[in-house]
Symmetry: D2
């Protein structure tokens, strides 16, 4: 019996890179939070404190900022692929890299109804995400792209039921045919392992998937949050052949009908208490039956979806 | 010399009331966080534990939910005025009430380009606020309304300078004629102490003030954040005669130009590090010189603005 | 009628200064978050963007770090007084300064039962605070010191009642003679306006006030949170003649007894749900009747207490 | 090609259960945040909205509270094992359950140096965690226990070096033989898959592992955070034969030496800026080479460690 070093990784987390494109008077902005993780031959650093194979996290940070200039910062999937490939290809001890990116959106400020050239207002809480993993040196290299969003807060004021459920001795919940359904959606979708660098318009795909998720949330008459998630994921797969799998995580943000009868008032689903905790948490994945092995795509991805 | 009870207040904080209007298939939603505070004759509770004059915070909570049905929940200023007046008028030991409300905005989800009737997506981080104070029993009653917003995150990628400043022995900052200026704006505006219940379209005023704040932020060529705040406040007062005073609090969310020269790269204001802390914090008020005594309008209002 | 600039201030917020004393092998640490605010003749900056009287917030930050070395960082009240006095005395346009400090505590790590010389573990959530205001140039200068703490989370599992309260038509709460009482205490105490730089052992006073607050919370059989706050504040004033006033803000963090009767179980105050929102919020001040004018001590101090 | 439902789970997250033991005047408290997740035959709920096999999350919540009374709430691993086994054994459609628990610690308040019987103060930010997974119906059932802690904030003011690292074209970092090392440690340790319900004193093991982690952090002269993590994990495995594997995640909370030379001051590692972002993030696992298959122990466990 011995004690050994297991899987490990290290990097610089949460580099807050903002890239302004100002080639014309009408500026553009990309605002991201990028985290790097390197995997490879780092046993000596752990066992003996020998840093000879360890590229400092500070250098990784510098690379994130430098690449925003030298390689550009467009779609976050492209940016992450460029960074990940660089670390694996150009840093000898590195055999794999995972780059996580969050993107925050800005709208142009309207002045007298016209979009301003260089003044922006943050769009909302919704965050676009990408997790890119590149594994193996050139020649035997694989890459996985998982795109996503989080903190997309949605609510239906009707069109949601919940009844006919299993009852046990701890069940006191009343059935309902009309309730408020609300969630803060996290979704991640994995692209098929064909060469992800070729031919994908990531920005257009993001907008498209997001629109489908919202549309299905709105349109599906829901008998359960599980059903809504399934319909969302299925619709994404139907519309995007390049997507292999969708993972969804949805807290059921309970809106409880307040009992106003002690005050002589009826409350036909008009006044609700929005509760914080506890909350239901529904997590599901929807995938193609020929999606193939996800490899390292989901390895250490935070949360279920 | 003696030890005495000083100013005090108590209430129920952060009641998360959601009101759905569903009289037609096209539902409307008001989503608020309301906090009550009562002032009055509560010395016995403090000194002797005697609750005879203390309306429980639980009853105050119930009132918030009940009024959302019986009185309605429209503009948060109206809702707050109704609640505050009720507590002062109808609860004998209460001589004053302050109601704080935060409102969260929702957009309708678009399905095939059309707004959905009952499915919504949270608009953004921006929060609308109101602080309403009613003091004195009927006959000698005064009311103050302070409307506001917070977490309105804005950024200009150019059109901002900072130079010519005072230097002391601790000054190392370089001057600049072109920088990124970003802030997360908190603004509060106090209405003149004419009867606030009469004739004000609070929702329209909110939209109007917000538009002015955004427009001035975008359009003013800024020599300092102080100047931008002054111009914002002044424009609001010019457009809204009913507004007596505007208070603004603006963290200077520093975006530092990254030095890419070690990597052989120029960086003409294209790549920035968005820093977290420390941050500049600029706070200013702009008011009419005949605005009169603000009374209790700002008493215990959190933060400078 | 005209529009004028009202009260304003600016500074650098949340400088995270850590000071290690390493003159002997047994190191000491002071870990603070310091915010500066300057008041004075800054109208030109607002009205015309003229920075000639504006000491950059960056210089204020530098001063915070430099003083931690040149003046030392001991009791946060001393550190804040030194900073505030410097800005007022040495920067011509500055007529007043407010310095806010938060301090985080560290314990020494125990190794085989012995305190380690230079390894520390964060003690808890409790934060020590100070708000120091210096106003007026030398000769007519005044200073105010408000010490405090926040996030001191305490709970009593019995010894708390709540009954005999006022009832109105919105009252449904049951009376109780035994409940859990829990709060996250914020307390601030103002020192008398005698020269605060003389003769006060701020660290000892902090420890003493904290011990009194905890002891009174524990020992007072409570008929209401109001009563507990009063007893806390009174005890501090009785023990510390240098303290003029105590302000307390205490969210009533509700622990609801869970009804287990549907499952055939009794629950004599054994199983509780710790709720998040809404919460009661009780705010009170206790002061000497000869405490005198607080001057600017509380001006723009965040929150009620 | 078809679209199919993939792995899924659902439950009630963040039930805030507080259990008071009051059999004697000296009360005891256990304060936890428990989340349930059930796995099993829930395809019909997703595909058709049929809830016949779905035990409501509300019932799961009720079970958490009821069990705190009927089964007791002692060591969180025992509580989680009891809950998980109940769901799998007693709810027909459930084939697996994962229970996550966080525990918050309280100290007794000292009054005149003596521990109070029923008044408590929260100990600190550190959170004890457990993730328990039970899979398979009785007869072919397996269970995994992962204990842990998070938010354990530690700092060394010396005894940490970082040099001899790999350099590339993006490397600008200076080498150092003396720096501040600080982290907010997350650690999880998996117990060997022998019957976890037998013979383990979980509370004692937690205290012991925590003491080892702290002691190694303090005592190891560190050449890199990687080395410190390895030494921490190895020491736990050496002391606890029942532990199969330790996973550690450690943000390198940078404390940068401030350059005070512009102000004529030396700074021999005395004044630091505690930075927020970005931060290094070092993640490592240490395990026995005969630890065997972890099975589902780590499945969907949030974060790397």
């Amino acid at each position: 019996m011995g004690i050994v070093l297991g899987p490990n990784q290290y990097g610089k987390a949460e580099n807050r890179v903002v890239r302004i494109y100002r080639d014309t008077p009408r500026h553009d902005i990309r605002d991201v939070n990028v985290s790097t993780s390197l995997r490879g031959d780092f046993a000596a650093a752990h066992l003996h404190g020998d840093q000879a194979t360890v590229l400092p996290t500070d250098s990784q940070k510098n690379t994130c900022y430098a690449f925003a200039k030298s390689k550009g910062l467009g779609a976050i999937e492209d940016y992450a692929l460029t960074l990940a490939t660089h670390f694996v290809d150009d840093v000898a001890p590195v055999s794999g890299a995972r780059i996580e990116v969050e993107e925050y959106f800005w709208d142009r400020i309207l002045v007298d109804g016209a979009e301003h050239d260089h003044a922006f207002v943050r769009r909302g809480q919704e965050v676009r995400t990408a997790v890119v993993t590149v594994d193996g040196k050139p020649g035997s290299q694989q890459a996985w792209v998982v795109s996503g969003l989080k903190d997309l807060i949605v609510l239906k004021s009707t069109g949601s039921e919940f009844h006919g459920f299993l009852r046990d001795e701890y069940t006191t919940l009343a059935e309902t045919t009309d309730r408020v359904m609300a969630t803060s959606l996290t979704a991640r979708w994995r692209y098929l392992a064909t060469d992800p660098a070729v031919g994908t318009d990531w920005d257009a795909a993001y907008a498209g998937v997001r629109a489908i998720l919202l549309s299905r949330f709105a349109s599906v008459h829901s008998l359960a949050l599980q059903q809504t998630l399934w319909e969302m994921g299925k619709a994404v797969l139907e519309a995007y052949p390049a997507v292999a799998e969708v993972k969804l995580s949805a807290p059921n943000k309970h809106h409880f009908v307040v009992d106003l009868s002690p005050f002589g008032l009826e409350n036909p689903n008009e006044v609700f208490h929005a509760d914080d905790r506890p909350y239901g948490l529904i997590q599901a994945s929807v995938l193609r039956d020929d999606a193939g092995d996800p490899g390292l795509a989901w390895y250490t991805v935070p949360a279920y979806a």
